[in-house]
Amino acid sequence: MLVSVLLVITVTFLLMQLIPGDPASVLLGANATPEQIAELKATWGLDQSIFTQFVKYIRNFVRGDLGRSLFYQEPVLRMLGARAETSILLGLGSLLVVVGIGIPGGILAALRPSSWVDNLFLVIALAGASIPSFWLGLMLMNVFAGKLGWLPSSGFTSILETGNLANLKNLILPSFSLGFVNAALVARIARSSMLDVMQADYITTARAKGLREQVVTIKHALRNASIPIITVVSFTFAALVSGAVVTENVFALPGIGSLIVQSVLKRDYPVIQGIMMIVAVLYVFINFATDLTYAFVDPRIRYR
């Protein structure tokens, strides 16, 4: 896992080296004299060799220093921290939609194959793979915020600072539009995995010993069907992050996703670099955590 993290950092570093021109002349503008540029480069250490820069870069990363924004002159890590709350809540909200709709939906579909619930999730999964989440978000916003006026259309203020839990209402539409598409995908996987397991002999045995159908479904079938489900839920992480970039933009949420878009428009390289790295490192960690979860759900894996 450490190797993967190191590779992620290396790739990000190398990508950022590809930027034409150097940040010093970008920041100082066209009127800067060569001496000024050279001076700024020296302060930032940009005049050293790439290898030295890289070593320094890794050292700073380990210390939690991701550099400073070119525009706000603020440490990147602090900027990310200030926006983390919104993104984390949005992520949890959409994960709740993914798991809360996807898994029960998949189980229902598997218990009655080719019933209307099964068909409904099939259609949603197919449509979900094709509907852009930002379009869904805008359409939901139009109906529920615009026409019906049930929910706020955009913006979000910190709950940690104001202590106002009602702010969560602002995240309902974004979480739903982000999570819904992935929920259908999870439902499809949950369904096929459950269908496989329900054929097994131990399910017949469990029924034969007179266990209630709910116990058979939840305790015997679901647990054994859970590994593919966990895998697909962990895959949705990348999809949720990608979707969040656009969803935060649609709903004007002050999160990390809208920060990266602003930074791209302003060419604020250190911020883009910081976000890329944090997200990719998080991705590596989630893969690792997923592997650990397998062992937790299926004790056989521990003995291998």
Binding site: S4, L7, V8, T10, V11, L15, L18, I19, P20, I101, P104, L108, L111, R112, S114, W116, N119, L120, L122, V123, L126, A127, A129, S130, I131, P132, F134, W135, L138, M139, M141, N142, G146, K147, R207, R212, E213, Q214, A238, A239, V241, S242, G243, V245, V246, N249, V250, I260, V261, V264, L265, R267, Y269, I272, I275, M276, V279, A280, Y283, V284
Partner: protein, 310 residues
Amino acid sequence: MIEPRNPGSEGRTTRPENAGSPPDWLRAVQRAANVLGAFATRRSSTLAALLILASLLVIVAVGPLVSPYDPDALSVMDRLQPPNRTHLFGTDNFGRDILSRTLSGTRITLLLGLSVSLFSILVGLPLGVVCGYYDRIGLVVMRGVDTMMAFPAIILALALMTILGKPGIVNVILAVGIVWAPRMVRVVYSGTLSIRETTFIEAAKALGVPSHRILLRHIAVNLLSPVIVQATFTFAFSIMEVAALNFLGVGIPPNVASWGGMMNEGRMYLTRASWIILFPGLFLALSVLSFNLIGDAIRDRLDPKLREVM
């Protein structure tokens, strides 16, 4: 959505909770789901997908001829008109005809999707075959490929757009292409790993066929089916991603009519004129849907075993 607590219903097909008559709207949902679901699992859905694709190609070919208005013609008098007889899809805040703009966006969308798919094949096929055939190269390059895949697609594309400089069609193709090429490399790589162990490769080696010929004539040719399937999916994903980039305002320049760009411009008028966003979004969703369905169909047709891998 949890199973109702009803011990009596175990193992039976009748559902007591629905034994009375369900409300009309629920029955409508049930019927619609059954009809659509039955449709989606049949051949006819592939046919529908091919029809959509064919109409898109017709739009690309003759679009400018049938387009009722100049997609960029401003007409302040007609601004924000709802869909009506003169403007079937309505007009935007500058009075531009949404139908004409949507048709004109079809060209750019398909052009970008095709370019990204070709790019991913041109990069992915040679690289994947070489990596799969030569262990040493594969070991190093595949680590890099996996690392590229650790970045969520849109974040990598955004970073690449920054690195490549100003917005433009070529830069969008490169940025989205670099995001999707690693996935193609993966598909080709795993295919090569299994083919190189087969007897006909062994036979070719024993006959003294040079390596480059083995790679090209024996391995690459046999990987065409997974490559075509993956390219179809790449097409679907890439037009979605291009639309997202345009929507965020970092894709192709705003003076070119694109579906994502139109949706971005329409955001200000969402509640007043939702048709500005509705129609390009529908076209995008239908295009992506048709490519996904066609990809599924080709995959099942060429090699049913691939269903598990892709």
